[in-house]
Symmetry: C2
Subunit: 242 residues, 2 copies
Amino acid sequence: MTTPCQKCPLRRHDLFTDMSDDNVQAMQRFKVGELTVDAGTPLLIEGSNSPQLFTALRGMGIRYKTTIDGRRQVVNFVFPGDFIGLQAGLMKEMAHSVEARSRMTLCVFNRSELYSFFRSHPERAFDITWLAAVEEHFLGEALTSIGQRTAKQALAWALVRIFERGSMIGLTNNRSMKLPFRQQDLADALGLSLVHTNKTLSQLRDSQLANWSDGQLTINDTEKLAAVAGVETGLVPRRPLM
Amino acid sequence: MTTPCQKCPLRRHDLFTDMSDDNVQAMQRFKVGELTVDAGTPLLIEGSNSPQLFTALRGMGIRYKTTIDGRRQVVNFVFPGDFIGLQAGLMKEMAHSVEARSRMTLCVFNRSELYSFFRSHPERAFDITWLAAVEEHFLGEALTSIGQRTAKQALAWALVRIFERGSMIGLTNNRSMKLPFRQQDLADALGLSLVHTNKTLSQLRDSQLANWSDGQLTINDTEKLAAVAGVETGLVPRRPLM
DNA sequence: CGGGAAGTTGAAGCCAGTCAAGATTTGTGG
DNA sequence: CCACAAATCTTGACTGGCTTCAACTTCCCG
C-alpha cells in the first residue's frame, strides 16, 4: 500500500517546482516501492554501490563522510523531498553515507533504469541536474560557513537554514519544529567540537535567539538570527521533486 | 579561428570519459565561440544571471563566494576541462563568482540553448548531471578538510588534489606544475589566515613534503604528502568533458 | 626609481579544542 | 514497574592551534 505519486503529499509545498501530469505518471512508473526504516538505520554506505535511489518522503536523516583517523563530517541533513543516491547512480560509488535520524519512509527507484528514464523524459533529466545544482549551491554555502564564520555565526546559519527548509515543507508549527538530530550531528556538520557546540547553543538560548532543546527547535525572530549569522533569509531555492 | 571540438586537446586525457563522434559534433554545434581573458578578469559574478556557459580550455581560475562582512571563501579552483556556469544555466543565478588567475581561454555556449540541447542529446544531459555529481563529490571532500583536518593536513590535502588534477591533464612536468594562485587564495579556500597558511607551507617545505614557491608546485612523494593529509591518492573520479 | 602587490617573519592574544566529571534522558531486562 | 546501563547533554578548567597585528622583504611594472 504505497503512496501513489499522483497523491504525493510533498508536491503541494511551495518549495517544489511544478510537475506536469505526464511527469507525475512517469515518476509513478519509475518508482518501484517504498521503504520504511527506524532511526539509526544506515541507508547508503560511503564507497558502496547501491542498486537503488531514494526520495525521502517522511522523516529526517544525515549525510556524512568519515576520515581515516575516525573523525566525521556531516555533509548535509536530509529532509522530506531530498533525493538520495545520485552519486551512486552516476559515478561508481557513493562519496558519503546516509543514515536515518528518525523513522523514515522513502520512495525507491531502480538505479539501472535511470539512464533510460533520462532518455525518455528529458524534462526530468533537466530537473535532476537542477537538483544537483541546488546541492552544489548548498555545499558552497556550508563551506563558507565552516571556513569563514565563527562558531556562533555558523550555528545561527545552520539553524536558520534548517528552520527555513522545515517551514517550506510544513514541518514547522508556529515558531517551532521537531529536530531529531543530536548536538554531535550539528557539531560534526560545522566542524566544531561537541562541547563548544553545546556552549554556543546555550548562548543562543540565553540571548533569546534560538532554543533547541528536547528535540524541538524554536526561533522567535528568524531575521534577528539571520543577522547574527550574516546571511539573508528567504533564499531557499525552489527545486524539482523527484 | 577557434579550436574545433573534433581537435579538442583536452579530450585525449585519461581524466575525461570517452565521447562519441556524434556527441563531439553536437558540442561543436552547441559551441558559439571562444573567449580569452587575462589573469584577474571576472568571468561570472555571484548573484548575476549570465547568458553564457563556459568550459575552461586553457588556464586556471578560482570560484569564490563573499560574505556580508567581506570575507571570502574560495569554493574550488578551476582547471582546464571544468564546466562553468551550470548554476546560472539552471537556477536563476550564480551562487559564486568565477575569476581567472592566469590567462584563460574558454569555450562559450549559449545558456538559452541548454534545454533544447538536453532534449536532443540525452547522453549529454546525463553527462552534465554527472559533472554536477563530481562537483558535489569534491565539495564534500573540501567540507571534510576544512571541518575536520588541521591546517597542515588541509594544506597537504589541497596540494595533493591540485597536483593529481594537474597531472591528469598534462600540466605536470616531472614532479612539478605551474600554479598561478596566491597564498591568499589557498588560505581562503581552506578557511585559514594568510599568515598561518604561509607558515604551514614553509613547514611542508622544510620537511621536504611539498614546495610551492615562485608559482611552481613541486611534490617529490605524493604518497607521503597524502599520508600527512590522511587521504588516499588515485581517486580523482573520471568525468565527462563538455 | 617609486609604489603596490605578494610573500615572510615575530609576538601576543583568543576562540575553540581537549580533558574530565557530573546530570539527565533513554533504553532494556528482570 | 523498577534497576541498571548506555547514550546524550551540561558544565568547569586548562590548553593550544590559529588569528590578528605589525613590520619588513622581495618582486614586478609603469
